[in-house]
């Protein structure tokens, strides 16, 4: 294969005529982080609520949870991205739709992407937390009730604190997944890490260098997440529950 490797290309002026490719890639990585972390915050918040809905002793809440999860889990993420970006402004009232379309750069791309990843992430996080809740012995909730706690208090003080500790490991995968899913936002023109790598190869033709840099970027981001989540897992491990074995092994 005849290919001119050149790592200096990162210092060349990029297509915006001002900054180097390296600078743009770093900016892209920041957008990846901003998008994924804010989407995760929403996913976690609403995922918890929805998981409670799915496990609560209320038929309407159960149905609500299941319908939400099945809709957002079953539609391909790419399709959802297009729906939020291209279709939503058309079905909203004209004034609101126009406002959405006229949003400045890059917010016009960022917010639809954030909505998309948050709604999708909520469904996935909900399922993981639900699994955590259902893995608890029934006696836990029953004991809470026996103490005179209300349903809300049982979830708040007994079930959720335990379930969340159990699901730290699958949640780690979810966080790493969301970092990677955020690259789909490039299809609606958000220049996050993959988008910047793509822009760089488009302009300089140095495709391998561009995507090597993007790969390293994702590896580093996700590596930090793994380490942080492991520490969290160790810190919150409850003796006797799943996950406590981690402490012994490490």
């Amino acid at each position: 294969m005849t290919y001119n490797w050149s790592w200096q290309v990162f210092l060349d002026t990029s297509s915006d005529g001002m900054n180097s490719f390296l600078h743009n890639l770093l900016v892209g990585a920041m957008w990846t982080l901003a998008l994924a972390l804010s989407a995760l915050a929403f996913s976690f918040l609403f995922g918890c609520l929805l998981a409670v809905c799915r496990t609560a002793k209320s038929r309407p809440l159960n149905v609500l949870g299941s319908v939400y999860v099945e809709i957002f889990r079953n539609i391909p993420l790419l399709v959802q991205m297009f729906l939020w970006y291209f279709v939503l402004p058309e079905v909203l009232p004209p004034a609101l739709g126009t406002a959405m379309k006229q949003m400045g750069q890059p917010w016009g791309q960022f917010f639809p992407a954030l909505l998309c990843l948050s709604f999708y992430g909520t469904a996935r996080v909900c399922e993981q937390i639900r699994a955590g809740i259902q893995s608890l012995p029934r006696g836990q909730a029953a004991a809470g009730t026996a103490l005179g706690l209300t349903q809300v208090q049982v979830y708040r003080y007994v079930v959720l604190p335990e379930a969340l500790r159990i699901v730290i490991a699958p949640l780690t995968s979810e966080i790493m997944g969301t970092i990677k899913y955020s690259s789909i936002a490039l299809t609606i023109g958000l220049l996050e890490l993959t988008g910047q790598a793509r822009a760089m190869q488009e302009f300089s033709f140095h495709i391998f260098e561009a995507f090597t840099a993007a790969t390293l970027g994702y590896l580093i981001i996700n590596g930090v997440i793994v380490l942080a989540m492991r520490a969290l897992e160790r810190h919150y491990a409850v003796p006797g529950l799943i996950g406590s074995g981690v402490k012994a092994k490490l």
């Binding site: 290919y3 915006d16 001002m18 379309k101 190869q201 033709f205």
Partner: protein
């Protein structure tokens, strides 16, 4: 530690395979051995390279490449030369050309000097002009970027057009928002949906996009070119023997009028799959480039 080891092994493997194949002799040897020429082509660049109703690659540049294959077969005295097709995207064309999967890329790749470090170009077969396109009701003048003040122009992320608009904007303080989009199709979608007031595209692609729209009369394409962009067939780098054969073939096709005929076929008459006519007469810049073939990547040469 283990990760480091795995990574370094992987890097080493990559390096050795690069060295091993770099020593291979040229494409002409390969053509003689295999009897096949593989053409890379984009799938949605109307009218340069796209798929017709039967999913077969067609287009102006694709047909030029097919004619080039015929010429190569004659020049090299090959008993048979089978032409195979391999779809490419802007991200895959360089690696596929470098690793030998495709021999030529026949689409709408802009020949600029920067890219000569990695690939070679056949003599320019199309000279695009970067033009602005807008909806008629957007209240802007497509020949005057200043009229887009405070509005949004969509352009392909990382592309030459994006750079051009960003630079014009910065130099003249137009106050235009430049919105990146994934490809030509999406820049057009952004204009259509009102997300951008207009878009900056190469004229050939703009005509293709507007002609295939549901209501072509809703759009207006600028006539004033902001910059020239020569297109050429991509060739592997550092293979002078192969480049000469291909270049001679392309120049031959320019001299005998084949290229002009193909131009009329794709730009001035109904084209598959929907029988649309782009009605786009040949520009003076292209006429000059066909009369005096050049593979220069400098836009000034085409003025």
């Amino acid at each position: 530690m283990k990760t480091v080891h795995v990574l370094s092994t992987a890097a080493l493997l990559c390096a050795t395979s690069l060295v091993a194949t770099a020593a291979d002799s040229g494409r002409i040897e390969k053509l003689r051995e295999t009897g096949t020429l593989v053409l890379g082509h984009p799938e949605s660049s109307v009218p340069f390279a796209y798929l017709d109703g039967n999913q077969k690659p067609v287009g102006y540049t694709v047909e030029i490449c097919e004619a080039v294959a015929e010429k190569i077969k004659a020049t090299l005295n090959l008993p048979k030369l089978e032409v195979r097709y391999n779809p490419t995207t802007s991200a895959t064309r360089i690696p596929l050309l470098a690793n030998g999967t495709i021999d030529l890329e026949c689409g709408n790749t802009t020949n600029n000097i920067e890219r000569h470090k990695l690939v070679s170009f056949a003599p320019t077969t199309f000279v695009a002009q970067v033009v602005l396109m807008a909806r008629k009701d957007a209240g802007v003048d497509v020949n005057d970027p200043a009229s887009f003040k405070g509005k949004t122009i969509a352009a392909q992320a990382g592309g030459q057009t994006f750079k051009l608009i960003s630079m014009l904007n910065a130099q003249n303080n137009y106050g235009i928002q430049v919105a990146p989009a994934k490809d030509t199709g999406e820049t057009f979608l952004m204009v259509q949906s009102g997300r951008a007031a207009g878009s900056a595209n190469d004229d050939g692609l703009a005509y293709g996009a507007v002609a295939s729209a549901k209501n072509p009369e809703d759009f207006i394409i600028g006539t004033k070119g902001l910059e020239m962009a020569p297109y050429g067939i991509l060739q592997p780098k550092d293979d002078p023997a192969f480049k000469k054969v291909v270049d001679d073939a392309v120049i031959g096709l320019m001299k005998d009028g084949t290229v002009a005929r193909l131009y009329d076929k794709y730009f001035n008459s109904p084209i598959p799959p929907r029988g649309i006519n782009l009605k786009y007469p040949m520009s003076d810049a292209l006429k000059r480039a066909l009369a005096n073939p050049t593979d220069s990547g400098d836009p000034e040469v085409y003025k």
